[in-house]
Structure formats: C-alpha cells, structure tokens
C-alpha cells in the first residue's frame, strides 16, 4: 500500500499539477498560433507577468486587511485576469500589430516575441529583483492528507494544487463552451481554419484577434499565478517552462486547443513518469525475485536531472516525425 501511495503522490499528483500548468499555457500558445500563425515565444513571460500582477494585488489586499479562507493570491484572480488581458492586448498593439500590418513573415513575429520576452523579463527583474518570493509569507499553505488504510504514508497535496486542478477544469470547460457555442468563439475557429475565407465571410478579424489575446493573456495569468502559488514566484518562473509548453502545443498539433490540453497532460505525465523511481513500487516483489537478483536502488527511466529534458526530447521527436501533432486524424 505504501508503494501505491508513493506512486500516487509522485506521479498522479505531480503529473496532474504539471499537466494543468502546461495545458493552460499551451492553449494560449496554440490559439495565438491558430489565429496569427506565429510561435509566441513570450508566452512564458506573459505567465510570469500575470503572476506578478496577482502578487501585487494580493499585497494590496493584505495591506487593506482582506482575509479569506482561500489563499489571497487566488482570491485576486478576478481582478488580475482583466489586467493581464489588457496587458496582452497592449503588447499586441505595441509590438506585433505594427509588424503584422507591414505583412512580415511569421518568423519575424517570433523574433519580435523574443524581444518582448526580454523586455518583460528585464522589467520584472528591474522592479522586483531576482529573489524568490512567496504568496504565503503572511498566511499558511494548507496541506491536505488523506490517510490510506494499511499504509504508513498518506496521500498529500496542497491547497494551491487542488485549486489549480479545479480552475484548469473550469477554464477548459469554459473555453470549450466559448469555442463551440458562442458566435465569437466559432468565428475564432473559423479564422484559425481558413483566415481568408473568414475575411470573405465578413468576420471582423480584428475583433477575433483581440479576443484571442484576451483569452491567451487571461489563461497565461491564471497558469502563472497558480504555478507561483504552488511553488514560488521568481522572474524566470515560466521562462524555463516555455519549451515544455511548446512541446505540449506541438504534440497536440499547433492551432488545436483540445490537442494542446491533451498535450499538456501528456508532457506533464511523461516528465513525472520518466523520472519516477520504479524500484520503490517493485519493492514488495523483492522476495519473489529469483536467487542472485537484487532490486537496484534506482530504477528510473532517466535520472532526475533530466526531467525537463524529457519535454525537449518529446518536442524534437514530434517536430521531426509528426509536425502536425500526434492526434492528427483522430481529431482536427
């Protein structure tokens, strides 16, 4: 039983948490790619920026003495999301739209997004310094433990982790309803499918582009804040995971939101499973091993140091063999 609990903690909980963050990020990346046809490299830093917006709001809330049973960083989200969306819109207006209007190639926009990444990172470091910050300096991070009969350990996860998974489910459901039920959402899918025909049909493409930035910016803020609540807040919070996020988006097929969600969880679980030490699960069977066989102390697929590398390898392999994503054919 101990072994099962260990597996649940190490793989199921960590994988779902990581997968949720990747999924939320990858949806934004994939929507932007679908509508504007470029790889938005600054998405990771938009997540970090969103987390800092929430951090500032949480500090303001704490200063005026608002306290709730839930973490303040989570309570401020309804205020942080619109701010992040507005920031995303102004980034587009200021840096990408002028280039788009000139009709540049997608890769020029990719380079511009790297410029935006550097500016956001530079500004954050300039104002907040490079140290780690915590949302839980003045409140406790609640840890839930579920005791399992017959096991010494208990299944444990933190409050932010539960909130992260719940908000991911809510956000994904809301996005699904938006894309399949609302006029603007369908227009967005139409433009991702065939931008010329969307224009010919009279769809206001500028409006669709703005909606895309609002959604991508809000989801980035959500993902960044939840990630910072789970770990801690630092200027390179999400810059380091922008490639796994791209891996998730590419695994799901760039431009396909549902693929991106699946890709996010796939990459998240691949990472946790790859570094999981299987010998701990196999320990109960050590008595039945043939004579002379011993269980090695570490039976993980790759050493823990290579956890993120798993995502890079997935990224490169998928790009080389299935650049349109691994779900091609199964869904669109």
């Amino acid at each position: 039983m101990n072994e099962l609990v260990f597996f649940i903690n190490k793989v199921l909980v960590s994988g779902s948490v990581l997968g949720s963050v990747y999924a939320l990020g990858a949806v934004g990346v994939t929507l932007i790619f679908g509508i504007l046809r470029f790889a938005h490299f600054a998405h990771g830093d938009m997540m970090t920026m969103g987390a800092f917006v929430s951090f500032l709001l949480a500090a303001a809330f704490a200063a005026i003495g608002i306290q709730t049973p839930l973490p303040t960083g989570f309570i401020v989200l309804p205020f942080a999301l619109p701010i992040a969306a507005a920031l995303a819109l102004s980034i587009d207006r200021g840096f990408y739209k002028p280039l788009r209007d000139r009709g540049v190639r997608p890769v020029t926009l990719l380079i511009a997004s790297i410029g935006v990444t550097l500016m956001i990172q530079g500004l954050i470091r300039l104002f907040f310094g490079v140290s780690n910050r915590s949302f839980f300096e003045n409140e406790a991070k609640e840890i839930f433990r579920i005791a399992v009969i017959g096991a010494k350990r208990s299944i444990s996860f933190s409050e932010p982790q539960v909130l992260l998974i719940i908000t991911t489910v809510v956000a994904v459901t809301a996005l699904h309803l938006f894309l399949t039920r609302s006029r603007l959402g369908k227009g967005m899918r139409a433009m991702a499918d065939n931008a010329d025909l969307a224009r010919v049909s009279g769809i206001n493409t500028g409006e669709v582009v703005r909606a895309t930035w609002i959604i991508a910016g809000s989801l980035a803020c959500l993902a960044g804040t939840m990630l910072a609540l789970d770990v801690s807040l630092k200027p390179d919070l999400a810059f380091n995971i922008v490639l796994p996020i791209f891996a998730a988006a590419i695994v799901g097929g760039l431009g396909h939101p549902y693929g991106a969600i699946a890709g996010g969880f796939l990459v998240g679980f691949a990472e946790t499973l790859a570094v999981f030490n299987w010998s701990s699960v196999l320990r109960p069977f050590k008595d039945v091993l043939p004579d002379g066989w011993t269980l090695p102390s570490n039976l993980s697929l790759v050493p823990t140091d290579y956890k993120l590398t798993v995502a890079f390898v997935i990224l490169v392999i998928v790009l080389l063999f299935r650049p349109t994503g691994i779900f091609k054919g199964a869904s669109t």
Partner: protein, 234 residues
C-alpha cells in the same frame, strides 16, 4: 436599375496591372457570366469588386453606392457575398457551423435563412453535424454556396464554381446557380466551362488581356462565330 456596375477598372497585385480597363453592368435578376482564356484576369474582376485586389483606376458602384476598394467586411453587410474558387469551406467545422459563419454579420434570427438553404440543398440537411472537410467535392461546393447565401446577399460572386468537379456534380452546380437566381439573387460568376455557363447566362462577358472583348446575352455569345472560334473552342 443596375445592381453592380464597374467602369474602367485597372487593378493588379502590385506589378503590371492585370485588368486594363474593364467595364460591366449587371441587373438585379441577371445571371452574368465572365468567360475568357486563362490568365485573362477573369477572377481578378471578382476580387477587385470584392476588395481583395486593390483597384488602381476606375470605380465600382453597388446598389447606388460607390464601393471602390471597400473591404469585404463592409461589403457583406451591404448585400454582397463571395464564393472563392478554392479553400471555400471551413473544413474543420460542421456543415451547420459553416452556414452560421456565413451569417456572422447578422444579429437577427437567421434560422429561416438556414432552413431555406437546406431546402435548396437537401443533401446538406442530413450532413449538418458532419465536418465539412469530410464531404464530397459536389457537397463541399453546396456548403460553399450555402455559406455565401446565409448573409441574404443581393449579389453572389462565384469564382469558377464548377472547377475540379466531376461532370455530374458540374451539372448540379449549374442547376443550383439557376435555383439561387430564381430565389431572387443576382449571380456574377467566372467560368472556365464557358459554353455550359453561357447557356444559362442572361448576360455574358468575354474578357481577354484584361479588357472587355464581347458583351451580350449568353445565347448571343454562343451564336457569335467570332466568340465561338476564339473562346469557345470552335
């Protein structure tokens, strides 16, 4: 009263102009067909009217308004629709969603229009929940036309609707065009399949080297020996 009139159109994609002064006049109940050799600029006429190609000289008047170089998203609400030759459906969306996209600019209840489109193309009704990309070539063309009709246009522009279709479907397309026209929509189309298209045309235009060469009713042009020799393959 003339529904759409263009005079002295000069237009192109930046380099040398493709159109060098094209005139046309189409009445509200017409099926007007533009024919001519490859590269004569037939499709460019439609694109210049619909604001997809910049007009350098001349002007376009639609329903009394000057619409020269107006953008598509202003023309659709005015009552104009365009069916491109290729990539004219949203392949990843269902048939019904394709039709809804045609009605994107409409804020009113468009269920009646949708019912009339299903009436016109009964094949589509049973496939309405299917992805448009999974349909056959002829059915795709119906989706494309249906989408364009959803905005209740007065004028439907069609770029080679029969291109790439098998003969049976081709015949169907021409029937559909006539049905659409009988429902009160003016059709202006470009066709490669000149003889067949002119047979249903109330007005025909022959364009070559970016200029008008002949104009008349469809039947006139078919009977004109010069047109027949040079443009209809004898």
């Amino acid at each position: 009263m003339t529904l759409i009139a263009a005079s002295g159109l000069v237009a192109g994609y930046g380099g040398a102009p493709i159109l060098n002064g094209v005139d046309l006049e189409v009445e509200p109940d017409d099926i007007a067909v533009i024919v001519g050799p490859n590269g004569a600029g037939k499709s460019t006429v439609l694109k210049a009217i619909f604001g997809l190609v910049a007009v350098a000289e001349g002007n376009v008047v639609f329903d009394g308004d000057d619409i020269t170089n107006a953008a598509p998203d202003t023309l659709v609400p005015m009552g104009m629709s365009f069916v491109p030759q290729e990539f004219n459906i949203f392949t990843s969306m269902t048939v019904e969603e394709n039709l809804e996209m045609g009605a994107y600019i409409r804020r009113d209840d468009f269920s009646e229009t949708m019912a009339s489109v299903y009436d016109m193309f009964p094949d589509l009704l049973s496939k309405r929940r299917q992805k448009a990309g999974e349909l056959s070539g002829g059915q795709r063309q119906m989706v494309a036309m249906g989408r364009a009709l959803m905005s209740k246009p007065k004028l439907l522009l069609m770029d080679e609707p029969s291109a790439g279709l098998s003969p049976i479907y081709m015949e169907q397309v021409f029937e559909h065009v006539q049905r659409v026209n009988r429902a009160g929509v003016c059709v202006l189309m470009v066709e490669q399949n000149a003889r067949r298209a002119l047979a249903i045309a109330s007005k025909g235009l022959v364009i070559a080297n970016g200029r008008n060469r002949f104009t008349g009713t469809g039947q006139d042009l078919i009977n004109d020996p010069d047109v027949a020799k040079s443009f209809l393959g004898g």
